[in-house]
Amino acid sequence: MTDQQTPSGGALPEPIVRKPRVNASFVWLIPVLAALVGLSLVINAWIKAGPTITISFQSAEGLDPGKTPVKYKNVVIGRVTSVTLSKDRSHVTAKVSLEKSAEGFATADTRFWVVRPRIGLGGVSGIDTLLSGAFIGADVGESKETRDEFTGLEEPPAVTHGAPGKTFKLHTDDLGSLDIGSPVYYRRIQVGRVVTYQLDKDGKGVSLQIFIDGPNDEFVTKSTRFWNASGVDVSIGADGVKLDTQSLATVLAGGVAFGSPMGPHDETPADQGAEYRLFGDQATAMAPPDGEPKYIRMRFDQSLRGLKVDAPVEFLGIPFGRVVSINLDFDEKTQTFPVVVGAVVYPQRLGRAHDKLVALARERGDDAQLSQMMGKLIEHGLRAQARSGNLLTGQLYIALDFVPKAPKVAYDPAQKPLEIPTVPGSFDRLQEQLAEIVDKIQKIPFDSIGKNVDATLAELNRTLKQVNGDVLPEFKNTLQGAQQTLGNANNALSADSPLQQNLGGTMQELQRTARSLRVLTDYLGSHPDALLRGRRADAPPPRAEPPAATQEGSKP
């Protein structure tokens, strides 16, 4: 197309000839290579492809076909390939293709669950999935049996297989506020959680499975006690009010705590799956072991208002058991309604006393049955008594005590359940005594006494009126007269009264008379003749005359 003219052959250059380096057929190596690469990809995919399993979930929330990974220990082991609704529309089915290396996950006891962010009272989990999206968590078991259909868990399992730690079993009467995942505390540090719970087969209790993470599981020893830490424990003691709780979360969500009792105890770590009792609170948990419970029955011929089920039964003041039933009975003979109280007692709570009693009973050749021991004690006056535990609330408790001079009762040790004779409660006796006093007081004829007193008082009133009206004015006059008299007497007797002066004069005169009389007598004594002759002429005066002699003669 270039040149229209045909060029002459000679004018054109000749091509030079060289040996070729590459044969054209080598180009077929390229598709062969490509095929090999493609084949290797196919083989690789085929080798990598693991089993396909289906997992059913309640909802497909967060499941994204082609994206949502299946993770085990945060390693992707598979991926959700499709999510479909089940035929009955009750659940969704997720198809998951596992990797070849995760073949072992398609076994019977593998568990799958969707990891989503969960915020509960126990804490927050799966927060990372907020950003990365939900994924399916897997937990492989030990089973060898292969399976390709699974039911996904709605909640993540509390314990994964192979996690270090131990599982223990707890028995309790009711679950309380515990739930799967509730924390287990040791010295207020969370060391485990509740894994599962189920009702006992007989329906009489609940069995809980708890998991204690290693290495803290070794703190669970053979003598460890578990108790429910759900509540708030308020105790008022000599040192003030004490509030005791494990954590705020346990108050709301419940929890279990455990510890070892004070004093010497068995420190051997407990075995996997060991069974324990879950006590209601720390105090009961830490109490000495109860041993085998025994059932006793008591028949009270009195009202037991204030006695409740669970009221304590005390033996000489020691907690011995608790009341489990209160029933009314009817006695045809006496036409009364005795109250039958059933109680569970724990003889081992008596500690050393129990041991000694058992030893004694054995020595005597009795069997160590409670009934035999009780027989002896009852002979010595052991009686049950309903006593008032709290005067304010009027709550009663049952006291087993030795009552002196208790009337003898017939006791049948073979009876089942064991019946403990009773005596009226102290409070009742007090009431009786009070009633007697009241009775006696009632017998006093307050009416007639009152009437008599009334009459007497009326009489008295009249008398008093008379006294007031008649006697008192007279008396007043008399007194006035007396006063005048006394005034006169006073005047008469005063120092300057004429009577007094006359009396003084008279007395002086009398003195003088007496003196002259003495002089006369003295003169007559020495001159008796003067009686006849009369007085002689004056003799010379005497030399010395004692004045005392003159004085003596002043007496009349």
Binding site: P13, E14, P15, R18, A24, V27, I30, G38, K67, G133
Partner: protein, 208 residues
Amino acid sequence: MSADLPRADELGLIGCHVCGLVCRDTGAEHAHCPRCHSSLHRRKTASYSRTWALLIAAFIFYIPANVLPIMRTASVGDIDDNTILSGVIELWVKGSPDLAVIVFTASIMVPVLKFLALVTLLWSSHRASPWARRQRSKLYRLVELIGYWSMLDVFVVALLTALVQFGVLSLVEPLPGVVFFGLTVVLTMFASMSFDPRLIWDGRESDD
């Protein structure tokens, strides 16, 4: 164009592909240009087999290129692996149908059409079909022209990988699919290169 014009082959002439020197066709094997020493051939050597081989290799690679994911985009923990087709679907669903159409054209339609075009050319030329020779020549030129434009996906992945590297926040990673896609494009380009368009005009009968 005039139909009865003679061909260089008929005139015993041979042109150099590189320097354009016209030599006499001596009929010797492994001839080389006396000026630039590039190999001389009347028709590209083993054009059919080379083109076929490269085309088949390209087609083999085209399968993993579409099946394997080509790009991983991770933004704030949300990891997303995309194949070419899923990328197109995602673009379409997420409200960029124009972009989806572009990507679909460049990454799926063009390679497929290239395969079809080359197969058509090879097939018809091999049978020395006189059918629509001029249009086939145009088709060949078109295939040559658009060859490298099919690398769009590869460019996108390469660019994004280079640009979007914000650690946890956002991350783009190339995945093996893009390598196979690149290989497919390169191999189709080689295939179209190794096809000698003069074969279109070689016929047992004279030109139409």
